[in-house]
Each structure stands twice: as C-alpha cells, then as structure tokens.
C-alpha cells in the first residue's frame, strides 16, 4: 500500500477545512463538508475491511522524524510524527467518522457564517482523528490542544445565550487539564531514554532494521550501567518507550527506586495523578464535570453531538494510552480510589439528572453518570471491566449522540427545552416517540441494546476485581436504578399523557427523512451491538489482553 492511509484520514478533513474557510460558497458549503466526511467514512470502512485482526500490536505505522533537539550534556530530544492503528484506535476513529458525518448532515440549523462553521467542524474532526492515531506523546498533545480551538469557537460563536460563559469555562477547564498533562509529559520524557533511538543514534542499528527484544535488553543494560555517554542518550516522546519503566534513568526522581517524596507521595504517583486528573476533566469525572452541562446547554445540537459522542472519549483514551501504561503500578495501587471516583460519578451524575428540568442538561448529566461506568470498569483491571469500559465508550458515543439529536429535533421545532413545557407528544409525533423510546430504553441499560453490555461488563469486572472494594461495584449497580428513574420520568412527562404544550402555537410535525435516517441509523447500531457484542469486543480484545498480561501483579 503506497498511500499513507492514516495520514490521509487526518489530512482529508484538514484540506476540506481549508477549502471551506477560503472559498465563499453560501449553500454549497454544506455539501462540500458532507462529501469530505463521506469520503472519510468510506476510507474508514476500507481501513476496517483491510484491518488485520490477528495482529496483536499497531499496524500501518507511519513514522517521520519531526524535531531533533540536541540538549548538550542531557543528550538529544527526538520528536516523531508517528501514527499507528490498533483495535482501540480503530473503534474510536470509526466512531469519530460516523458521528462527525451525522453532525455535519444535521447542521441545517446553522444559518450564519456557514463557511467558518463547517471549516471549524472539519478541523475538529482532523484533530480528533490525530489524537486517536498518534503514537508519539508530543504529537498526541499537539492534536489534543488543537481540539480546543475549534471547539471554543464553535460554542462561542454559534452557541446559545450564555455562550461566552460556557465557552470560556470549557476552555479554561480543558486548558488546566492539558497543563497537568504537559507537566508530566515533559518530566517523563526527560527522565526516560528511548533505547531504539539511542541505538540508532549510536549507529548500532540502521533505519528500518529490526530491533528485537534482545537488542532492547542490551541497550537498556548499557544505559543502566552508564556505558553510554550522557550526550549520546536520546529522549523521545514515543509512547511505547515511555511505557517501559526499564527505560527510566536511575538518577531520575521518576525511577521506582528513587526515595523522592512530596507530601508522602512518590514522583511516579504524582505523575500518575496529574495525568489522571488531566484526562478526568475531559471525561468528565465528578467533581471536575461542571463545565459539561454548561457547554452542552449552550452548544448547538451538532456540536453537542460531537462533544458527547466523541470528545469525552479522549479522557478515557488518554488513561488507557498514557496514564495507566506509563505508571501501571501506581495505577494499580490507586485502583480503589479510581473505582470510588467512578462510582461517585455514576451516582452523583444520576441524582443531578433526576433534578433537571432542561432536556439537554439531563442528557449532559446522564453522560457524567454513564462515563462513570467507564472509570469503574477501568479501575477493575480485569479483562471484563476493560472490555466493558471500551465497549461503553463506543456505546455511549452512539447513545448520547442519539439522545442529543432527539433533543435537537424538539428544540428545532419549538426552541424550548423545558421538560414541563411538553406533554403527550406521542400522539403528535409517533415515529419520533418510537425512536426516542428506543434511545431511552437503550440508555437506561435494557438488555438487547448496547447500553446494557457496557454497563454490565464494567460492573462484572468491578465485582470480580481483587483490587477494588465490592462496595463501589454495588454503588455503581444502583446507578442503573437511578438511570431508569430519570429516563422513564422524562419519557412519561414529555411523550406520554394527554397532549399539552406550553405554547399552543407550536407546530410539531413528525420526523423528516434526514432525521429518520440519522436517528434510526444510530438506533439500529445500538440494537446491533447489543445483540452481537463481539462486533466491538473483537476489536479491543488484543489491546486489553496485551496490556493486562504486562501488569505488575
């Protein structure tokens, strides 16, 4: 394959975005963006069919040297443009591609500055794809930061009445999170040596030559015995190198044997928690979640869809790719606290959702609750829990998008999201009620829909895990009762009962074709994945089993 497929997936929306920004089409711009997104989706499907399921590691790696920075006596810094695809990445880029496509085709409510809107949307898509495909921490960070700008403008310009407040809040929260990530990123890359790059630097191996396990061991011993001169050491941001604690310099405070303590915690523990919190803001985890309801309420529907459907997943992805592999022992020691935070997120988010009178806020808080299952599953450090957490990422991506689109359908017709302003719309919009019912039952975790599998395996992992207290699992299980409570309450108030609208002038026509396509495609996916969970589990199994077998038990 001559074409660098992964770069294409990132470059395609980038080019599309540039064209959309420069060319002044008023009405055609939407079709341009739709086309770009459709091509990207086809590329992703093609990638999915060509994906080698037997490969246990990354495939289609693309690597280019980007920055080489001599640091004198500290050695040399190498930053690479390095992309790769594994099952976990594929699940998330496929989700991103599909959700972006739906967001773009459902953007007809955007009437002003269309060019800028679509170009920012495509830019956001490119940044998200980059995030999920990067294998270099620095590159990941660049894409991670890059996501912030389009999102800030998309909320700040096309948002609702309190858009300024919401967008700045979103910006500040995420910025603080990335600050934490930055600190750890710099610290860990200075402390770690990349053996492969060092060997290359020393001329021990040539470009493209196979670097086997034995050679790796040799270099690591050589570094540990200080046989290599300081200025010949090469630091890099390669995530794989950073995941191997043997690459850590013995003199560094990040070394496991260093006695360095701050407030009773080792430097590695600090590193883990800084990374953890940095990504927890994105997830979002209670108590770092308050940006989310505001951002959702103010954002236009398609942006809410992307925000809930894809953006939140970066938080968990960051844990799975960086925080936990970099500091596995520390993560394992903190498992109980992580599980507690997850269980609290589940319950706290659900209680908040119960108190909401605004539909979008309700869905936003339900997201907090559902993402708590991801954290609970990850904290279990069991195959079931991790698979469940990854499954929940995809499932929540589908279901929260569906729920936000459902809210969008109502909002577009009436510009009102108050739950008590509606009653009995089942008689007016039967098709809409059908798909809303599917969305609601799927989200409250009814078996047969995808929502159940994710929550179920996360809980199963949490119950069987030796690392966490079963009380957190029990607490998490009560979340499924509360979620049934707020969803059914909403369903009863808005859809069932005698038709009674706040404003009698409201016209509520049933779904049009575009809405039927968007909503039902998500609903059908949810049922499909709910009945055949292996469609998702098969993608992530090698990632999970590879990682969990290397855990220091």
């Amino acid at each position: 394959m001559g074409l660098p497929l992964l770069s294409c997936i990132i470059l395609l929306p980038l080019i599309g975005s540039l064209v959309a920004a420069v060319v002044k089409w008023e009405n055609g711009i939407k079709y341009w963006a739709t086309g770009i997104s459709a091509i990207q989706l086809l590329t992703l499907i093609y990638a999915g069919t060509k994906f080698d399921h037997s490969a246990t590691s990354f495939q289609w790696n693309e690597e280019l040297n980007w920055i080489q920075l001599p640091l004198g006596s500290l050695g040399e810094f190498v930053i690479k443009y390095s992309l790769g695809l594994d099952g976990l990445s594929f699940l998330l880029i496929a989700l991103t591609g599909f959700i972006s496509f739906l967001a773009i085709i459902n953007s007809h409510s955007i009437q002003e500055k269309k060019g800028a809107y679509f170009s920012l949307l495509l830019l956001l898509n490119a940044a998200l794809m980059g995030c999920f495909l990067s294998r270099d921490l620095f590159l990941f960070y660049v894409f991670f930061e890059f996501m912030l700008l389009p999102m800030y403008f998309l909320i700040g310009i096309w948002g609702g009445p309190r858009k300024n407040y919401a967008s700045i809040k979103f910006f500040l929260y995420t910025l603080i999170g990335s600050l934490f990530i930055l600190i750890v990123m710099l610290g860990i890359s200075l402390a770690y040596i990349d053996p492969y790059e060092t060997a290359k630097h020393l001329g021990l191996i040539q470009e493209g030559q196979n670097f086997d396990l034995e050679a790796l061991k040799n270099i690591q011993t050589a570094i540990a015995n200080k046989e290599i001169a300081n200025f010949d050491l090469v630091h890099s941001f390669d995530m794989q190198a950073l995941s191997d604690v043997n690459n850590c310099q013995t003199t560094s405070i990040l070394h496991p044997n260093s006695g360095w303590l701050l407030n009773g915690l080792s430097a590695r523990m600090w590193g883990f928690w800084l990374l953890f919190i940095g990504f927890a803001i994105k997830l979002p985890m209670v108590p770092l979640h308050t940006w989310l309801p505001d951002a959702h309420v103010e954002a236009p529907t398609p942006i809410s869809v992307i925000l809930a459907g894809v953006l939140l997943k970066i938080g968990a992805y960051g844990w799975l790719r960086t925080a936990i592999p970099f500091f596995p022992k520390e993560a394992l020691e903190s498992a109980n606290i992580m599980a507690a935070l997850g269980a609290i997120s589940i319950i706290y988010g659900a209680y908040n959702a119960l108190a909401m009178s605004d539909l979008k806020k309700l869905v936003a808080y339900s997201s907090v609750s559902h993402m708590g299952f991801v954290l609970l599953g990850i904290a279990s450090f069991q195959a079931e829990g991790w698979q469940g957490a990854i499954y929940q990422l995809v499932s929540h991506g589908i279901l929260s998008s569906l729920l936000f689109l459902v809210v969008g359908v109502l909002y577009e017709r009436t510009h009102d999201r108050q739950i008590d302003h509606y009653a009995g719309i089942a008689s007016l919009m039967p098709r809409f009620t059908l798909i809303s019912g599917i969305a609601i039952f799927a989200s409250l975790g009814l078996p047969g829909f995808s929502g159940f599998i994710g929550e179920f395996f996360s809980l199963l992992g949490a119950f069987t895990s030796p690392y966490i207290h079963p009380a957190w699992a029990v607490l998490g299980a009560f979340g499924i009762l509360l979620s049934a409570g707020y969803f059914l309450w909403t369903f009863q108030k808005v859809y069932l009962g005698k038709t009674n609208l706040f404003n009698t002038a409201w016209k509520l026509p049933d779904l049009n074709r575009l809405e039927i396509f968007s909503l039902f495609s998500l609903g059908i996916l949810s049922i499909l994945f709910g009945i055949l969970p292996q469609l998702i589990l098969d993608w992530s199994k090698y990632f999970v089993s590879n990682f969990l077998t290397t855990l220091p038990y």
């Binding site: 540039l18 060019g115 920012l120 209680y351 195959a383 199963l460 049934a484 098969d538």
Partner: protein, 631 residues
C-alpha cells in the same frame, strides 16, 4: 425436523412474529387480530410437537456467542422438564388471551401496537424459560419487565396508567440490582455461567447472601412483600394483557427463578423464600378483601397466590401450583374482563365505573356462562375437590409437613403451615365473596341491564376452555389423589401425600370461608385500600428530594467555588492592573504610554473578532508544522 433446529425456531419465532406484525400492520387492518392469533397458534402447535418429541427428556443447545478474555460466553438454552411445562402454560394463555383480545379490544385504534407488545413479551418469556446461560436469563428477565412497562402504559394518555407503568418498572429494577449481584455471585461461586452445570458437588450450596440477592430480584418480579405495591397499580393496562402478564406468566417468573435455583441453594435460602411467601400470602389475601375494584382484588389475590408458590420454596410443589394457578388466574381475569366489557357497553351505565363492585350483583342472569366459568376458577383457587387447585394446594401442604418432620428448623415449618391455614381461610373468604358480589343477589346499581345479545365466541371460548383445563381430570382421573397422573409423570413432577388431619383443616377453612362470605355479603369497601402506601411513596419522594439537594451542591458549592476561584483571578488582575497604573506607570509615563499605544494598534489588528482570521492564523500554524514534518 431435527430437535435442535426446531428448538431454535421456537425461540426465534415470536420475535419474527413481532416483526411481521410491525411490518404488516398497515396492510392487514381488519385481519390483524386473526393474523396475530394465527401466529401464536403456530407457536403453540410447534411447542406441543417439540415437547411431544422430547418424550419428557431435556434438550440443550449451546451456540457460540462471544468470548471475552478467558471466559467464553455461549448462548445456551435448555428445555428442562420444568421449563417445558411452564412454556406450555405460556403458550396456552398467550393464545387464549389473544383470542379474547380480538373481541375485547376490537374498537381500539392502536391494535397493532398491542399485538406487537404481546408477541415481544412472549418472545422474551420463552427466552427466560429456556435460558440456561445466566446472562441470557437476566437479559430476558429485564425484557419481560420492559414489555410489562409498555403494556401497562398502553393507553399512554391515561395519567394513572403511565405512572403505574413507571412504578412497576422502577420497583422491578430495584429488585433486579439484587438479581444482577446474585447472578455474578453465582457465577463466581460455581465458576460457570450456565444453570445446568451448577452443582453443589465440592463447592457446597450457594451461600445465603447470594440466595438473598437472587430472591430480591424475584421479589420484585413476583410482587412479593415488600415490593408488592406495583401489581395492583399495573391493573391500569388492558385486562387481557393483565391476564397474561400480571397474573399467569411474568409474575410467576419470580417463582420460576426459585425453581431454577432450588437444587443448588441451601435450606436457609429456601426458608427465607417461604417466609416472604407466607407474609405475602396472608397480607395479599387480607387486602384482596378491601378492594372495590374487581381487577385490583384479583391483583391482590395474585400476590397472595404467588406467596403460596413461594412457600413451596421452588420445589416441585411450587411448580405444580404455578401451572395450576396460571390457568385459573388467567381464567379469572378473562372472566372479569367479560364482566367489565359487558357493563362498559351497557347504555345505562356509560358514566359509571365498570370495574367497581358497586355496579355489580345479580349478573348471573345476564352472563350465565361467565358466571359458571368464574365459579370453576374460584373453586380451583379455593382448592375444592374436582379441581386442579385441590391437588396443588394439598401437595404444597404435604411438602411443608414432610419437611417439618425431618428438619432442624421444624418450628418454622409449623409456623408456615399455620400461615398456610390462615391464608387458605382468607382466600376462600375473598374469592367466594367476590363471586357472590358479582353474580349473586340483586344488581346494586339498579341498572336496566340488557341480556347479552351477541354470542361473542372469541370471549366465551377462552373462558370455557380454561375452565375445563382447571378441572381435575387433566391431572388425574382420581379426583382426590394424583398417584397415577400421566401428565405429572411426563414432566417428572413429584407429589407428596398430605396427612389426613390436614384435610380436616382444609374442610374447616372452606366452611368458615363460605360462611364469612354469607355474613359479610352486605358490606362493600368504599375504596381500594393499598398495602404499604404510607411506606413506599415516601421512599420514592426521598429520591427526587435527594436529587434536588445534589443539584444544589453542584450549583451552589462546586460550581460556585470554581467560578469564585476564577473571579479571584480577575480581582487579582484588577489589583495588579491598578498597581501597574498608579505605580509602574507613574514611573515610566512617557515611555510606556508611547509603547503601549504603538503595540496596541498593531495587536488590535489581529484581534479583529472575525473567526475566519483567527482560523487562518490557526491553520497557518498547523500548516507550518505539517510542512516541517513532511520535509
């Protein structure tokens, strides 16, 4: 046809039926009922043929489903003898209920939705009965709950109905948390995910904690004490659906779970089950007396009868009563449905509540066949000889009596027997009283009732056949003894002989119950008294209250704190700016003024406020970066 494809076909057919109903609902407007009845008849015939082919043997299938880590999840189903007989019950009742509905709901505009829900329910119910893999069992368990939600809220414009549906679902969910935890516990304890391979063997029976968790789920589903209050409310749904779901089959799923776990749970779990059952038996029977709505009275009667099955602890005694009760209770509901339907269509009574006992009395003249059917079902409930109820009730007493002989917990068994006697007395009282208030005496509303002019077969046939099925000769030709019962042998149901003193107690309870009915015949409850109303609503009001409180924390403390923190930065900024102006600026007035003017003008060009420009800056930066990379 081989047995395995037939089995898979039977599991899939109701789902396909539901899809067919959904697909053809627009085309088959008038024939929809017949089509739906035909579909459930095919399922019934297929099931009978399948079970006949099995010749009383179990049949299991294990299909590959998915694997996760080291654990392989198989889609396993097993047609054990207990699931076979309950499946026949479900198929029979489902068929008759559909037949009955075609007349009862013939003016209903959304009939397609109704039949769709019924088929979905049947599909989930068969999956529940035949599931061997515990998670398929759990999944179908939740799905029958969802179908019950959909059917209770079928008339979604009725405020009471949708509230009842929500309550039913939430109370069930509450129990299901227990079931979920219990099933996880089972899978860890026995290290398998299939019921059929759970054996006491070396690991010993499942500990009481697991048993209690599992039974919590069953309590929710079977509306046992203390999660019972949803069932009377659920009567807001269509009556035939109540007959199928909330009387004969779904509520019995809790008992069925007890039957499934009976072989590998300890006596402590069994006794807990029996005690819950005893409380429900007595309290349900008491509250059945205090209803003036006939459906609500029957709902409390269902709670009470399910309690009786629970007292069987999941043994064969429970199973026998489950099947017998399923037949006569479905019959009672359908007969009550006929009565309601008849009153509802009387011209003189259109403004009255057709379900209230106050409107009834003396209906034997207008509805003689219904009265006869009702009488047979009531007799079976009372356990009078010549009915199947006699066999199953005496068998249950025999089971308790035998356990009392050789168990260290014999005082509990004797208490249970005492509760059974009291429960039987109360049951005899409420059901005979209800029969009296509906059919005997004179009409209390003084309505000018017309004789039922139409001979509506689809309402009469189900009631008559179910009444026939409630009679003794299906079980055994000997009306007071089951020893040569071919049907019980076929399904390997063991029966236990009851000591003769118990027959005397039973006879006394009949006489006493009937005389109590005679003495209390003029008293009619003024409203429907609810068990535990004072207790449960306050719990459920506590949750929204807590939710509001949590939200207040979220807004007032968490969010305020962070906003305040951010504002503090701004205040600090103002202080520093003030210092900058008055101190630093004061020192370097000339220079800094000039500089800031120049730089301000320059920078403000960049701060144009136009997104496109911001964006191009962003893009240029990113483009330069990529350019660098690619070079």
């Amino acid at each position: 046809m081989g047995l395995t494809p037939l089995f898979i076909g039977l599991l899939l057919f109701p789902w396909i039926s539901a899809m067919l109903i959904a697909a053809f609902s627009k085309i088959l407007t008038r024939l929809l009922s017949s089509f739906s009845i035909l579909l459930s008849f095919i399922q019934f015939i297929g099931l009978i043929y399948f079970i006949y082919q099995l010749q009383g043997n179990p049949h299991a299938i294990h299909l590959p489903w998915f694997s996760l880590g080291d654990s392989v999840f198989r889609a396993s189903f097993e047609a054990s003898s207990s699931s076979q007989i309950v499946a026949i019950l479900v198929a029979t009742v489902a068929f008759f209920v559909q037949l009955f509905s075609s007349s009862y709901l013939k003016d209903e505009p959304h009939l397609a939705r109704y039949y769709l829900y019924l088929h979905l329910f049947a599909a989930a119910m068969y999956a529940l009965l035949f599931a061997d893999q515990i998670w398929i069992f759990y999944a179908s368990w939740e799905m029958v709950g969802a179908c019950s939600y959909l059917l209770i809220s079928f008339w979604y414009q009725k405020e009471v109905a949708i509230k009842a549906a929500k309550k039913a679902f939430l109370l069930n969910r509450f129990g299901d948390i227990g079931l979920l935890i219990g099933l996880i516990g089972l899978s860890i304890h026995f290290d398998t995910m299939e019921f059929s391979s759970m054996q006491i063997g070396s690991v010993g029976p499942a500990p009481i904690a697991i048993g209690l968790a599992l039974l919590a789920g069953a309590i929710g589903k079977s509306a046992q004490f203390p999660l019972m209050s949803w069932l009377p409310d659920a009567m807001e749904g269509p009556t035939p659906a109540s007959a199928l779901i909330h009387a004969a089959t779904m509520v019995a799923a809790g008992v069925y779970l007890g039957i499934k776990i009976y072989p590998f749970t300890g006596e402590d779990t069994h006794l807990f089950m029996a005690v819950v059952g005893a409380i429900s038996l007595v309290s349900g029977a008491i509250f059945a007396l205090f209803q003036h709505d006939i459906k609500k009275a029957l709902a409390y009667s269902t709670i009470s009868q399910l309690g009786l099955m629970w007292m069987g602890m999941g043994s064969d005694a429970s199973l026998l009563h489950l099947v017998v009760h399923g037949i006569f209770k479905a019959g009672l509901f359908l007969a009550a449905g006929s009565v309601i339907h008849y009153l509802h269509h009387q011209k003189s009574s259109h403004h009255l509540d057709a379900q209230s006992l106050n409107q009834m009395g003396g209906l034997r003249k207008q509805l003689p066949w219904t009265a006869l059917g009702y009488g047979v079902f009531a007799a079976s409930l009372m356990g009078l000889p010549f009915t199947n109820g006699f066999f199953s009730k005496e068998n249950l007493a025999g089971f308790l009596w035998e356990n009392a002989q050789n168990s260290p917990f014999y005082p509990i068994y004797w208490t249970l027997l005492a509760c059974l006697a009291i429960g039987m007395l109360l049951s005899n009282w409420y059901i005979s009283r209800q029969f009296y208030l509906i059919f005997m005496g004179e009409n209390r509303a003084k309505l000018a009732l017309e004789k039922s002019s139409k001979w509506d077969l689809s309402q009469h046939i189900p009631v008559k056949i179910l009444a026939l099925l409630s009679l003794f000769f299906w079980t055994s030709w000997n009306p007071i003894h089951t020893q040569e019962s071919s049907i019980l042998n076929w399904f390997q149901i063991k029966t236990i002989e009851v000591p003769s003193f118990w027959l005397i107690i039973t006879a006394i309870s009949w006489v006493l119950g009937l005389s109590l009915t005679w003495f209390s015949r003029h008293w009619i409850p003024t409203k429907n008294y609810q068990f535990l109303t004072a207790f449960w609503p306050s719990i459920f009001q506590f949750i929204p209250w807590k939710a509001r409180w949590t939200h207040r924390i979220d807004i007032l403390i968490l969010d305020k704190f962070l906003v305040w923190l951010a504002q503090l930065q701004v205040v600090t900024g103002h202080i520093i700016a003030w210092m900058d102006q008055s101190l630093v600026d004061g020192l370097l007035v000339g220079f800094s003024t000039k500089m800031s003017q120049v730089s301000g003008q320059f920078l403000s060009k960049w701060q144009s406020g136009k997104v496109q420009q911001y964006w191009i800056l962003v893009f240029l930066t990113f483009g330069l970066f990529l350019l660098y990379v690619w070079m």
